[in-house]
């Protein structure tokens, strides 16, 4: 606090900051839809997980499967293996080959599966995306995409808001004085959206400096090195923003935990996955996360599909997020739970 700010402005700022913090902790949740067309019986649904070895992907895919079964359908997961060897495309094609009625893809960019999506369309298989991105140019290739919330009609806007929340948490917790290392996940739509939001969220903070460093799919395994080097280059940086929890686990947390400045560095990560919450609980290099109900997102995808079968447009799922840190929203064990019983709500809406 080497501040020259007059006391009354400082006070006002403090109030704004604590208000912002309150909002982040409270969250932005809405409610799931209360009505829906009845799920048509006997449908077979193919769920392409972004990668069963990634816990976030797994959570969403399992939830979608659970929801589809709740709708009275047969459902099966195909492992997208983080697209190793082109597994996304293979999974979609496999679903078409398996004569499924619909394919739900999770956290997959349309660009990676354009061809198979066209093939699915030609074969009359419906396709629904959640947590992913439709192709923006020209034709929309998915039959429908889950709508996260009224406030965030697309996944892009939802992710931007999450990126913004990360910036707001750092601003709030640092009292508007932060030097931040921001890890930017280049080359992916989700990384771009989170980064846009973060930049936007940081803009009002006059006392903050951000040093962005890049990571890509190919340098995913080098995250530790990347963060370590960034912390060495910027010895005054005490805040680290990481867009996704998988990147935290891949080495960002270890870089912080292994730093000689470990005690003063705070890292905020992604979605609030169980292993990351453990890191927060045990103070092992991560201090906070932006808790997101990925399982809810999976249910929303099935809700979207039910409406697609009925020829209806998707409706808002009511998704939101909350800050999770050692002082707030941290369950004693397990994953981050949404503060809404969305399962019951959906069952009721679907009449199941």
């Amino acid at each position: 606090s080497t501040t020259t700010t007059p006391p009354e402005t400082a006070n006002a700022a403090k109030i704004t900051i604590s208000k912002a913090l309150d909002e982040l902790v409270r969250g932005t949740y809405g409610t799931p839809p209360t009505s829906a067309p009845p799920p048509p019986p006997g449908k077979k649904v193919w769920i392409v997980s972004c990668g069963q070895s990634a816990i976030g992907c797994q959570t969403g895919a399992e939830a979608a499967k659970e929801a589809a079964q709740a709708a009275g359908w047969q459902a099966q997961i195909c492992d997208g293996k983080l697209n190793a060897g082109g597994a996304f495309a293979q999974c979609v094609r496999q679903g078409v080959a398996a004569k499924q009625d619909a394919i739900i893809t999770e956290a997959i960019d349309c660009a990676d599966i354009q061809q198979p999506l066209r093939e699915a369309k030609a074969a009359g298989v419906l396709t629904v995306d959640f947590w992913g991105f439709d192709c923006d140019a020209g034709e929309k290739l998915f039959t429908a995409s889950a709508v996260p919330a009224e406030k965030y009609p697309t996944n892009a806007l939802y992710q931007e808001a999450i990126g913004r929340a990360r910036a707001e948490w750092i601003t709030a917790r640092s009292g508007g004085q932060a030097t931040v290392v921001e890890l930017v996940f280049q080359g992916t739509n989700i990384g771009a959206a989170l980064h846009r939001g973060f930049v936007e969220g940081m803009a009002p903070c006059a006392g903050c400096t951000v040093h962005p460093v890049d990571v890509t799919l190919t340098t995913f395994g080098d995250v530790r090195q990347i963060i370590e080097s960034a912390l060495l280059r910027h010895p005054d940086a005490t805040w680290v923003s990481v867009p996704l929890d998988s990147l935290v686990l891949a080495g960002a947390a270890q870089a912080v935990a292994g730093s000689p400045r470990r005690a003063e560095i705070k890292l905020i990560g992604g979605e609030g996955l169980p292993p990351n919450l453990n890191l927060i609980r045990e103070e092992q290099g991560q201090s906070a996360a932006v808790g997101q109900p990925i399982d809810w997102y999976g249910w929303a995808a099935v809700d979207t599909l039910i409406r697609a079968f009925a020829g209806q447009e998707p409706v808002s799922a009511g998704l939101g997020f909350q800050i999770v840190d050692s002082t707030a929203n941290l369950p004693t064990s397990g994953a981050y739970p949404a503060p809404v019983d969305f399962r019951a709500a959906y069952r009721k809406a679907w009449g199941r």
Binding site: D79, G86, K99
Partner: protein, 317 residues
């Protein structure tokens, strides 16, 4: 004799067995034995088998090649970039992708055949370097815009009931089978791989033959890259390693069949098919996501064990 047949066609028999199994298994019986699934499986082996064959050429000549997958990546991106960033006509894009593969092949060939550097190390070097180049050019972002429709159709369409992409692949297979197994050039490559010093003393231009093997390998990786672009509807940015291991697995599985104990073209195709059919069957049957890996790994070990032990009992080379 029957043992020799068992050895030659063991993998093929196993493949038939796997097909039968998933064809009658209740969980997969509905979807597995369908034309659509056959199309999916064949479509999926296209890239892997061409990549595997690309690795077979240097292997037969006695050199390992780690770089085929990375090369195909470069070629795929080159093709996509020409079409998308430079709005080149389709032929130019395809030629560019092929050329990119050939250039990498030429570099490897020069380093290994002419300068006689250890192929292992050189190709691990190129396999490390090339994804960096792709990263540099693309900034990590795949190129999927404006890919010419005929190329996309090649990746997705069918012809005579089979995926369109399988036809050029069949051509590649036939040509490579012919060159490697039925011509003097192929025989000479085998001789060089077996004993380069002796090869020189029967008048085989060892450097030239090894050089050729790497250039062909690069060219085939280039073809694989183009097919990759067709299948993906663009050039995707990956590490390349995720394609290398399946391709090598096909080659090694294939080394236990058709011409057992020797890396060979048809064996590689059977190997790729075996993996693809098994994975498809397991997926359709709803096996847990860890099963395919374990199955493939075990299949590799079992295949090499059976064929080695059979060969040892018979005393074939």
């Amino acid at each position: 004799m029957s043992r020799a047949l068992g050895e030659r066609y063991g993998l093929l028999l196993l493949l038939a067995g796997v097909c039968l199994f998933f064809g009658v298994l209740p969980a997969s019986a509905a979807a597995f034995p369908t034309a659509a699934n056959l199309q999916a499986v064949l479509g999926n082996i296209a890239v892997v088998s061409v990549l595997g064959i690309a690795a077979v050429f240097p292997l037969v000549g006695g050199h390992f090649d780690f770089s085929v997958a990375a090369t195909s990546l470069v070629s795929s991106i080159t093709c996509a970039a020409l079409l998308s960033d430079h709005h080149a006509p389709l032929v130019v894009g395809v030629a560019g992708g092929l050329l990119a593969g050939l250039v990498v092949g030429l570099v490897n060939a020069t380093l290994v055949a002419v300068l006689r550097l250890n192929a292992f190390i050189v190709t691990i070097g190129t396999a490390t370097l090339l994804p960096g180049v792709v990263q540099w050019y693309t900034g990590g972002v795949g190129i999927t815009r404006d890919i010419a429709q005929p190329l996309r159709d090649l990746g997705s369409g069918t012809w005579l009931g089979l995926p369109r992409v399988i036809w050029p692949v069949a051509l590649v297979i036939a040509a490579c089978w012919f060159v490697l197994g039925q011509t003097a050039v192929g025989r000479r490559l085998h001789a060089v791989g077996s004993n380069p010093a002796a090869a020189r003393l029967v008048g085989i231009p060892v450097t030239r033959v090894s050089f050729l093997a790497f250039v062909i390998s690069g060219g085939l990786a280039g073809v694989a890259g183009i097919l990759l672009t067709a299948r993906n509807g663009g050039g995707l940015v990956t590490s390349g390693v995720d394609l290398l291991f399946p391709a090598l697995a096909a080659v090694f599985l294939g080394g236990t069949a058709i011409d057992p104990g020797r890396y060979n073209v048809l064996g590689t195709v059977v190997g790729a098919l075996f993996v693809a059919v098994s994975v498809s069957g397991l997926t359709l049957a709803g096996a847990a996501d860890w099963v395919p890996d374990v199955f493939n790994g075990a299949a590799l070990v079992v295949a090499v064990a059976v064929s080695t032990l059979l060969a040892r009992r018979r005393g074939t080379p």
